[in-house]
């Protein structure tokens, strides 16, 4: 605190400030955050940052090697693909598609999941038992399977694969919310609100939700890393984003055809996905241990 305070010992940093302080103390977490920041900035400003249009084919520049190789040229930093498209621009746009769609899916899944979870958490008796059991069981169906079914019904495409992944992400939010709401409902401050005459909606908005945000943020990072991996896996399997749309997994899958001639078409998008997921996981991990530290102190 820069300004002078007479009652210094009275200062209580807010929970978020304390979490941030704990987070900041881990160097790895900070590196992860910076890396993730890069990805976010590149995704947001893709049209400004990327040197070429990602779909622009250039017949005179097929399969140019990346700039660090002797046969490469600085005009194409990461080289070009077999249609003469700039790999660097494609990867930037790919991050935009992959990360952007991942983020959208997580937000959507969170909204739906929290609603259902709260509902399930407040239910009692047989109904709750049935709902919970079924949810538990359905949670076990692999994303890939849901995606295959949705693709079979609606056809391939990024949006269809996003529905599938969103569906698969919902249960974990339901699960966490339900557990959390159940635990909270037993606490005394809820009882106090109840005695004040708060109805269920007021209980949720004013008492439970504020306490839940941290859990949701942590769960969100977990979901985001899963979403990114899943959307790129579906793109890779040719069930998600279709060429010429730039999506990291689809770029990698297309690159396989020229894997021997132009290995960078496989290596670079792979590294991009890996670093993206790694940075998300590191930030998520850092956040979690920061929260844990705060709670345990």
């Amino acid at each position: 605190m820069p300004q002078f305070s007479l009652y210094e010992e009275e200062f209580h940093p807010s929970p978020w400030q304390r979490t941030w302080a704990a987070f900041r103390s881990s160097h790895i977490a900070i590196v992860g955050l910076i890396l993730l920041g890069f990805f976010v900035i590149f995704s947001l400003f893709a049209p400004v940052v990327s040197p070429y249009n990602p779909a622009e084919q250039n017949i005179d520049a097929l399969l140019i090697a990346p700039s660090w190789e002797s046969s490469g040229s600085i005009t194409h930093l990461f080289g070009t693909d077999p249609l003469g498209r700039d790999v660097f621009s494609r990867i930037i746009y790919g991050c935009r598609t992959t990360l952007g769609s991942g983020f959208l899916m997580v937000v959507l899944a969170m909204l739906i999941g929290v609603s259902i979870g709260t509902f399930a958490g407040m239910l009692r008796g047989v109904r709750s038992s049935i709902v919970n059991h079924l949810l538990d069981a359905l949670m076990a169906i692999p994303t890939l399977l849901i995606a295959i079914i949705i693709v079979a019904i609606l056809g391939t495409g990024l949006v269809n694969s996003m529905w599938a992944i969103t569906l698969a992400l919902i249960p974990q939010f339901v699960h966490r919310t339900r557990t959390f709401v159940r635990a909270e409902m037993k606490k005394e401050y809820i009882m106090a609100s109840k005695l004040d005459g708060a109805n269920k909606w007021q209980l949720f908005v004013h008492s439970i939700l504020p306490n839940m945000t941290e859990m949701l943020v942590v769960q969100g990072t977990v979901a985001l890393s899963i979403a990114v991996i899943d959307v790129s896996a579906l793109g890779f399997l040719n069930l998600g984003a279709q060429s010429p749309l730039a999506e990291l997994g689809a770029i990698l899958g297309d690159g396989l055809d020229v894997a021997y001639l132009a290995p960078w078409n496989v290596a670079l998008p792979g590294i991009a996905i890996f670093l993206l997921v790694l940075s998300i996981n590191i930030v998520g991990d850092g956040l979690r241990s920061a929260l844990r530290k705060r709670v345990s102190h």
């Binding site: 017949i59 060429s243 020229v258 894997a259 021997y260 001639l261 132009a262």
Partner: protein
């Protein structure tokens, strides 16, 4: 102690490895006794009479069967096979074939032949596709696309047995390409005895799924999307020095085929992608065989759908694309630009034929005159598999998509798996399609008739669904003409006609490639049709 189970697991694995490490020599002998070929797709059937796709012929013609005649792979001349000699009458209508007597059929788990190959088998095999009254004609669909597209059945008056080993075929009209047709991959010899036996069991369908032939390999089993197993035919009539076992490892992705070739999981592979040729050439353990191919890759319009029934629209679309770019980007210069349907390897090739040129301004103008507004949408169907004539149809479609956008046409790319793709094409659901044709001999009729004649629409090789009487008449006239020079002139007229009406845009004639490991012996590339593994083995 948590380390213990780990230790035990490792110990067990090591022990298994040690016990398994039998003598190197046995191992070597075992792995050399079989040949693995990485093929690109599933055969539709094991009878090449029923299907013209090269996947089917690769998996059946030269492995399981023999033909009466063969092409010499080097000179392209017709040579004897299980017909040891033949005679043609002076009027060119009667062909007499003398058959070999020592040709045995396969003995397998599902059939034991009691006799050798003879005249009855020839009659059975030809009558199956020729006569609708034949008990096997309608088995497995009743379509014989190759023969139908050439109208061969209508031209044969009779197939007669002179004696057990002599057959006479009478034609109605002269056909200068008749012998060549008998030597193609599709004119295989089936077993009449096997056919009878299956009829008695009431299982005639099995004849094309559990094939019996006279070829150097016999069928063992097949699992779709996985493998086809063959065994050596121990009593093959011809020279034989081939492997004990032949396995087709069905691997649709060309990059994976190359990978398997590198690791030695495959000994030879089909259709290496053009992009991979450099990699193969640069490796000492791999060999690449190359020959100019008898094929053509093209972009066909569905001429039965408006506005593609208008030749001006077709010409406009042809002028909108730059063929040279397609050649460079898709074939990586391993193909020559196609002006007509015929490649340079054919004797009737016309060097000075007219060709469409890249001219987007003209294209736009033609489209406007034909009443096609900017923003018009159409589909381009891109073949899902690689073929020599089009190694990457999807990529070509993307390039064409971009060219069409420049002239205000919005193209969407459509693709299905190969079987569905061909079924929908046959139903005529496409606006335009990127596909091609590999011929089996250099005879021009082998290109023009199956690809664009009226008779080829129901048989499913005329992808433009184009039917033009002038064209068919010219083709018939050419077949009646024995004089090569006169025939050549007729085909030049045909080229002119096609240039004017343009039911399809010829794009490229690709070279044919085959990649294999250098321990394979006896491997040659067959420019006329499918691969052959008779006489191929591994050096020890």
């Amino acid at each position: 102690m948590p380390v213990k189970p780990l230790f035990y697991a490792a110990f067990t694995v090591v022990m298994v490895m040690l016990v398994a490490a039998c003598s190197k020599q046995d191992e070597h002998a075992f792995y050399n006794s079989g040949l693995v070929y990485c093929s690109e797709s599933n055969p539709v059937t094991f009878n090449p009479q029923l299907d013209t796709s090269s996947t089917t012929t690769d998996a059946s013609s030269h492995q399981l069967y023999d033909r009466l005649l063969d092409f010499d792979p080097d000179s392209g001349r017709i040579i004897p096979s299980i017909a040891s000699s033949w005679l043609v009458s002076d009027d060119g209508l009667t062909y007499t074939f003398q058959l070999r007597k020592d040709v045995e059929f396969h003995t397998t788990s599902y059939f034991t032949p009691s006799r050798n190959f003879n005249a009855d088998d020839v009659i059975f095999s030809i009558d199956r596709w020729r006569l609708t009254s034949h008990p096997y004609h309608y088995v497995s669909g009743g379509r014989y696309p190759y023969f139908e597209s050439l109208g061969l059945a209508q031209n044969i008056a009779s197939v007669e047995r002179v004696n057990g080993y002599r057959v006479e075929i009478n034609l109605k009209r002269r056909d200068s390409s008749f012998l060549a047709n008998l030597a193609t991959d599709f004119s295989v010899m089936l077993s009449q005895e096997y056919g009878e036996a299956l009829l008695q069991q009431g299982l005639p369908n099995r004849i094309d799924q559990y094939p019996i032939g006279t070829g150097p390999f016999k069928f063992e089993n097949y699992r779709k999307d996985h493998y086809i197993r063959y065994q050596r035919h121990q009593t093959y009539w011809g020279e034989q020095d081939n492997a004990e076992r032949l396995i087709y490892d069905i691997t649709p992705k060309s990059s994976l085929r190359l990978a398997k070739l590198m690791t030695g999981e495959c000994d030879a592979t089909a259709f290496p992608a053009q992009t991979e040729l450099e990699v193969i050439r640069s490796r000492d353990d791999l060999l690449l065989a190359e020959k100019p191919g008898l094929n053509v890759g093209f972009w066909a319009f569905n001429t039965q759908r408006p506005p593609f029934d208008n030749p001006d629209v077709r010409r406009a679309l042809a002028a909108a694309i730059d063929k040279n770019t397609l050649l460079e980007a898709v074939y990586f210069d391993s193909a020559t630009r196609a002006k007509t349907l015929l490649p340079a390897a054919s004797w009737a090739f016309q060097n000075d034929a007219d060709d469409t040129a890249y001219n987007p301004v003209l294209a736009r103008k033609l489209l406007e005159n034909a009443g096609v507004e900017p923003g018009f949408t159409m589909t381009i169907w891109a073949m899902p598999i690689e073929r020599a004539y089009n190694p990457n149809a999807a990529k070509m479609a993307e390039l064409i998509q971009r060219y069409l956008r420049d002239v205000g046409v919005i193209a969407t790319i459509v693709s299905y798996d190969w079987a569905t793709f061909r079924r929908h094409l046959q139903e005529g659901l496409h606006d335009s399609v990127l596909i091609g044709w590999s011929a089996d001999n250099g005879d021009p009729d082998n290109f023009y008739r199956p690809l664009l004649s009226c008779g080829a629409i129901p048989s499913g090789t005329n992808r433009a669904m184009w039917c033009d009487n002038d064209y068919d008449e010219l083709l018939d006239k050419a077949l009646q003409t024995e004089d090569l020079e006169a025939r050549r002139l007729i085909y030049q007229q045909v080229n002119r006609l096609l240039y004017e009406r343009l039911p399809l845009v010829p794009i490229a004639h690709a070279y044919r490639y085959q990649a294999y490991r250098n321990e394979l012996e006896g491997m040659t590339i067959n420019p006329f049709g499918g691969v052959r593994f008779g006489g191929v083995g591994k050096s020890l």
